[in-house]
């Protein structure tokens, strides 16, 4: 997507180094701390197969006798399992690393899908106007009035009832990306449409039109690059939202199965053991989820302050 500034040949890097974005980053310690935590969490999650001491999905590495051991700061813990074990004897640290990986993959995947649908619809609605605009925006309004989480739960429920539990679990990652992507595209569509409306009347668009470019080219090559900063800003918030939505769906049993848990399904499976005193099985993945979402939200706040796009309001 819009990462031309960070992944880069040297000229871009020089431009990035002198940019206001980087300047304000250097002078905002909250953004720096959040960024560092975010990078650590993402890389730890992506490197889970190499970092984790055991593979929690490989039953031969799991010892049921080691179940429900507490984390290291509580008496009765085992040095082998720094964050304790869950009810099946799986190392919490390893399951959390793997779980965070699943959550992040779904979060990013869902946001990419949202962005694809939302940006296309937003461009079409804003540039073409008229009936297309009225139809797409009415659709977005209706969907938003139901709230994205509600739509996701309903779509999830329908998918689950259609495909049956077993098939649903098998393709859960793909289905969750689809569900959350379909549920949250209106956010992108509205933001992009608002920027397109502002851009459409500018001279460069008129010039492109006079030169005889087709609508598609004008939309994607001329207008889209000028709407990137609001897209970039809401993307951060949307990733946080997608991760929360995924966790919520998994918690309701409409998400990742326990055999391939995300952070949400770890919380769900641990919740049953809360009463027996093993709080760490549910609260440790919960804490990781909160920190992950919090740093993304804080980075989003910072980006919004710096880029200050005309976000769609109301």
């Amino acid at each position: 997507m819009s990462n031309a500034t960070t992944t880069t040949p040297p000229t871009h890097w020089a431009r990035f180094r002198d940019s206001y974005l980087f300047y304000s980053f250097k002078h905002d310690w909250i953004a720096q701390v959040c960024f560092v935590i975010f990078v650590i969490m993402v890389s730890a999650a992506l490197l889970a197969p190499w970092l984790a001491s055991i593979n929690p999905y490989d039953l031969s590495q799991v010892f049921i006798l080691d179940s429900e051991l507490p984390p290291f700061w509580i008496d009765g813990s085992d040095a082998k399992y720094p964050l304790g074990t869950d009810a099946l004897g799986r190392d919490m640290l390893s399951t959390i690393l793997y779980g965070a990986r699943v959550s992040l993959i779904i979060g990013f995947g869902a946001v990419i899908l949202q962005a694809l649908i939302g940006v296309t619809f937003g461009l079409l609605a804003g540039y073409l106007g008229g009936r297309v605009d009225a139809f797409l925006m009415r659709l977005a309004d209706i969907q938003l009035s139901f709230s994205t989480l509600m739509v996701a739960i309903i779509v999830g429920a329908v998918f689950k009832a259609t495909f049956g539990g077993a098939t649903y679990s098998e393709h859960a990652v793909l289905l969750l990306v689809l569900i959350i992507g379909l549920a949250e595209w209106p956010q992108y569509a509205r933001t992009v449409r608002a920027s397109v409306l502002a851009e459409r009347s500018k001279e460069y668009v008129d010039a492109a039109r006079v030169m005889g470019f087709r609508a598609k080219r004008i939309m994607f090559r001329h207008i889209l690059p000028n709407t990137l900063s609001p897209i970039f800003v809401i993307s951060t918030v949307q990733i946080a939202n997608a991760i929360i939505s995924e966790a919520a769906l998994s918690f309701l049993g409409l998400g990742m199965p326990e055999t391939q848990p995300s952070l949400g399904s770890l919380i769900k499976s641990g919740f049953d053991y809360l009463q027996s005193g093993s709080w760490w099985i549910t609260l440790l993945p919960g804490a990781v989820l909160v920190v992950l979402v919090l740093v993304i939200n804080l980075l989003g706040d910072w980006l919004r302050d710096v880029m200050n796009p005309r976000l769609y309001k109301g």
Binding site: T162, L254, G314
Partner: protein, 349 residues
């Protein structure tokens, strides 16, 4: 006004129509009701006869018209699991959810307005910044996690012993940061008071009200940050406006300006956002009710999904859809009434 009303009503009907088509499509395509009704051993010929008798072989449109006709009479068939009309099942679960939502709304209104207004009036005060920080964190905590943490702290209890408990002050400090638990956290309790029909209330006495505390607080915790931030942002904007400056210049007391002049205009956008958030609130009741085993519609819906109880799922969708449409229409109308600058006859803004 009349034209606006008619337009909104037409819009509402259109949305309900779309919802009913979707709901019916779900009912039509999901699961085999025959399989749910009869056992494994019934031969195919009898199944086919039953299918014909129930009209399941009719064309889609015929079946939809029948569905819509029945829906007008609030007849959505029988729940597979409860073996009762689905509307009865819904009506039995509705009060629990409504009471939870009512308690939550009360908490939100009572807390968000004072905190939001205070943070706008004194944006640099330590307390205001604390509220803003807490609300940023609050937005990042999923509602079911708040619920679990509340259960751990107030229902199960937490024991911290960072201080030496042999000494008097040490054990006193340990007691201070630890909790006993004991708050009821699951279900609605047995002390419900009958009001009428299927409505049993938790509001009638302390013994039952206490069951409402943890669910309502969790549900409020997710909506509060949003409303606090919104009220603060709107209030800050209003306080910059010309008419507030003019009122100040006129020498009107600050209290009167804040709470009479500014607050009125602050609440306008809050009404619209509040209406939209009702949808979110319903979604969150599903999560909250799951954690607390609160016997409301959300829990019922999830159970229905687990049991593939299609008629109940469909009825839930229709009822929730109806609630959304009614509240959204009402919010639009109220907004038109309280803000005369909204062009009622033109395209809704």
């Amino acid at each position: 006004m009349i034209a606006f009303l008619i337009k909104r009503l037409f819009h509402a009907f259109l949305v309900m129509f779309v919802i009913s088509v979707i709901s019916f499509a779900i009912q039509d395509n999901l699961g085999d009701p025959i399989q749910q009704m009869v056992g494994q051993s019934v031969p195919e010929s009898e199944r086919e006869a039953l299918r014909e008798e129930l009209g399941l072989n009719d064309p889609f449109l015929v079946q939809y018209v029948r569905f819509a006709k029945n829906a007008m009479h609030f007849d959505f068939g029988y729940s597979y699991f409860y073996n009762q009309p689905t509307t009865e099942v819904i009506l039995r679960h509705l009060p629990a959810t409504l009471e939870l939502v009512a308690a939550t709304t009360l908490l939100i209104v009572l807390l968000s307005v004072p905190i939001g207004v205070y943070s706008a009036i004194r944006p640099r005060a330590l307390l205001a910044r604390f509220f803003m920080g807490v609300s940023t964190v609050g937005i990042s905590i999923p509602v079911f996690l708040t619920a679990i943490v509340l259960i751990q702290i107030f229902a199960i209890g937490v024991t911290f012993t960072p201080f030496p408990s042999e000494t008097g002050w040490g054990s006193w400090l340990n007691d201070l940061i630890s909790t006993d638990g004991g708050m009821p956290a699951y279900g609605r309790g047995h002390e419900l008071t009958h009001v009428f029909g299927t409505w049993y209330t938790n509001f009638a006495g302390w013994d039952s009200l206490i069951y409402l505390v943890l669910p309502a607080v969790s549900l409020a915790s997710i909506m509060l940050p949003l409303f606090i931030r919104l009220i603060r942002a709107e209030m800050l904007e209003v306080l910059q406006s010309e008419y507030v400056k003019f009122a100040k210049a006129k020498g009107i007391g600050m209290r009167r300006i804040y709470f009479l002049h500014a607050l009125k205009n602050t609440m306008l956008p809050v009404i619209t956002v509040g209406g939209v958030q009702i949808g979110t609130l319903v979604a969150y009741t599903i999560l909250t009710e799951t954690v607390f085993q609160w016997p409301g519609m959300g829990l019922m819906f999830l159970d229905a999904i687990e049991r593939s109880d299609i008629p109940l799922i469909v009825t839930y969708l229709m009822v929730v859809g109806l609630i959304f449409v009614i509240t959204n229409t009402l919010v639009d109308l109220i907004y038109g009434l309280v803000n005369p600058t909204v062009k009622l006859t033109g395209k809704p803004a």
